[in-house]
């Protein structure tokens, strides 16, 4: 019980509650159900992407190409729609294309053995470049999209837009996968101790490949949702969003060294960032403050993480000198 109250996730819940209460004290309208539902809906794309990124980070990798994958699949979805392809084909195509783009990352990491940070740094610019090659830098605007294409994410079902329901479904599915399936547990095993994972019969590279494929497929799904919700597709859609995604993971307690973290923490990290983003205009702070605030939140989150995980008792080796805690990039 005490552990549950002082856990990382609990701390994050306290922080979110305190922050929301402070905002609601001055601006009660912010916690009206419709306003909270709006905030959730605005954060939905981030949540879906964060689930994929979390899995990748758990396996000691990082995927910096998520935003570029999102932009490319979103553009392809918009172009397909413009060509008259029905929605039931467009959406699976977007997800499949995202998965393929993720597989390219995964293959380069698994088969060629290039560190993931290098691979995704490269594919990030390549994927965005491909959008430019496809469109010559032209935008696909609202009037060029079919009504069905634009309507789906905003369609209200049981009081919430489809966009929110998709996020809830993804969270539920991966909540089960990560805790109840062999694949889910092997992501943790690979990140927690790759050597032990090999001896336990888990193929490290193949698991990382699976992680990238999932991350890509989810980015493909968000690609469609994003482009249809904002009703515009262009080269720089979601530019720099990969950093928000990584930031939400870090705030949510996913260890960048792999193997530690979960769906609940990741989603709390998203909610934290989402509330800041939606509250700033409400409390009358210029949106220019947002970047500095999320930066500060990231630094504080890492510091709190490190303090919490600090082993108690007599130290023989300094914490970062122990092989298990060695910093891993890539």
């Amino acid at each position: 019980m005490k552990a549950a109250l002082t856990s990382r996730d609990a701390l994050l819940i306290y922080a979110i509650t305190a922050m929301t209460a402070a905002i609601a004290y001055r601006f009660p309208a912010f916690i009206a159900p419709s306003s909270l539902a709006n905030t959730f809906n605005d954060t939905a794309p981030l949540m879906i992407l964060v689930i994929g990124q979390m899995i990748v980070i758990l396996t000691k990798c990082i995927d910096l190409s998520v935003a570029a994958t999102l932009a490319l699949t979103g553009m392809v979805a918009a172009l397909l729609d413009g060509a008259g392809v029905p929605l039931v084909i467009v959406i699976p195509t977007a997800i499949a294309l995202g998965a393929v783009l993720g597989m390219i990352n995964g293959l380069l990491v698994w088969r060629v053995g290039i560190p993931s940070i290098v691979v995704t740094l490269g594919t990030m610019t390549i994927y965005r470049g491909i959008i430019f090659l496809m469109t010559d830098g032209k935008w696909v605007n609202a009037h060029e999209m079919s009504d069905a294409f634009k309507a789906l994410p905003r369609l209200h079902v049981l009081g919430l837009p489809v966009m929110s329901w998709v996020a809830i479904a993804v969270i539920a599915v991966f909540g089960v996968i990560m805790t109840r399936t062999v694949l889910g547990r092997s992501f943790y095993a690979v990140g927690g101790n790759p050597h032990a994972a090999v001896y336990a019969g888990i193929d490290v590279g193949r698991t990382q490949f699976a992680a990238f494929t999932i991350s890509g497929a989810l980015a493909g799904l968000v690609g469609y949702l994003w482009v249809s919700r904002y009703a515009v597709a262009y080269v720089d859609v979601a530019g720099g969003f990969e950093l928000d995604v990584v930031a939400a993971c870090v705030i949510g307690g996913i260890s960048i060294a792999g193997g530690i973290g979960g769906v609940r923490g990741a989603i709390l990290g998203c909610i934290f960032l989402g509330i800041i983003k939606n509250a700033l205009p409400v409390i009358g702070v210029s949106p220019f403050w947002q970047m500095a605030i999320s930066g500060t939140a990231i630094v504080l989150a890492v510091a709190v993480n490190a303090l919490q995980n600090r082993p108690k008792g007599r130290l023989i080796l300094k914490p970062d000198m122990q092989p298990s805690a060695q910093k891993v990039q890539a």
Partner: protein, 328 residues
């Protein structure tokens, strides 16, 4: 990362001669790539082989390369700094503030460099002092530093820097040698000596290969890490002075995405992204290659984003090629 190595290491019957080793080195490969790109460019555009055009082309990489030298040392030591471009933004904003307050060129320059040092020190304290993972810390400070610029400037810009200030980004020291190229050459030599000819440089390699071993060998690991972040901040401050002077204005979005180009340059230069190996010569060659690719494609009127595809492909291809070719 690949599966742990379980197979035995290959032991050669005799060692390679120094000449053979140089021939098969990463730097030799880079030289070949550079010659290929240079030749291709001179055939592709008649304007390429002109001293002044080539001198102009160096502006494509001098500022990035100055930071890349410090970044190379940081990556060799097993750390990374993603906040360099944001440090440029903050330093440039501070220079704009000082300029608006009516101070002259010396104060502007000192301010830019000082802000760079302060930002580097902040990263250094967080990473070396508090033992936090650098990749996350610098993703955070990356938002923080540029965020402060955005708070100060919003959608405004600082313009109207004094005429004499233009020298740092637009001036020429001698004939076609610009001040930036001159500074690039000097910093290259300084960093070469620092990394390859001093105890400090050896300590950087040792830390990158085995931090525990380094600690037990009496290397002050935290101090070296801190100094490396300070150096990266310093070089970012210097680059901010050059870039601001060259553009003649400051916007909060200045140098956006430059950190990725700098890391690409470092990795292309043969520095192991996981730490432990690399050379300044490689980074110098990578800087020239990236500069020539950007410039050559620019002469053919290809838009910037297509260039970035080439750079992305170049990054992956150059890392993948040797792994695929030398594979058993």
């Amino acid at each position: 990362m690949s599966a742990p190595h379980t197979q035995n290491r290959h032991l050669p019957d005799r060692l390679q001669t120094p000449a053979m080793r140089a021939l098969r080195s990463w730097e030799a490969l880079l030289v070949v790539v550079f010659i290929l790109i240079f030749t291709a460019n001179s055939f592709a555009s008649p304007y390429f082989l002109n001293v002044w055009n080539l001198s102009d082309a160096t502006f494509n990489f001098t500022e990035k390369a100055m930071i890349a030298f410090a970044m190379a040392m940081l990556i060799i030591a097993g750390e990374i700094d993603l906040s360099v471009a944001s440090i440029i933004a903050l330093a440039s904003t501070a220079m704009g503030l000082v300029m608006s307050a009516g101070y002259g060129v010396p104060v502007i320059v000192v301010t830019g460099i000082a802000v760079g040092l302060i930002c580097g020190a902040i990263n250094g304290v967080l990473v070396a002092g508090m033992n936090l993972p650098s990749i996350v810390v610098t993703i955070g400070t990356m938002s923080l530093f540029r965020g402060v610029s955005f708070i100060i400037l919003g959608d405004q810009a600082f313009t109207g820097y004094p005429k004499e200030f233009a020298f740092f980004g637009q001036g020429y020291v001698f004939w076609v040698i610009s001040f930036e190229l001159f500074l690039f050459a000097i910093t290259a030599v300084i960093f070469y000596i620092l990394l390859h000819r001093t105890n400090f440089g050896r300590a950087v390699f040792v830390i990158g290969n085995n931090p525990v071993g380094a600690l037990f060998s009496g290397v002050r690991v935290a101090r070296v890490r801190f100094i490396l972040f300070l150096l990266t901040g310093l070089m970012s401050g210097i680059a901010a002075v050059c870039l601001t002077s060259r553009l003649g204005s400051t916007r909060p979005s200045i140098a956006t995405g430059m950190e990725l180009e700098i890391i690409t340059m470092v990795v292309l230069g043969g520095v192991n992204i996981l730490g432990g190996s690399g050379s300044i010569l490689g980074v110098v060659l990578a800087a020239f290659i990236m500069g020539m690719v950007t410039f050559g494609i620019g002469l053919l009127n290809v838009p910037g984003i297509v260039m970035s595809i080439f750079l992305g492909l170049l990054l992956i291809a150059v890392i993948a090629a040797p792994k695929l070719i030398w594979r058993k």
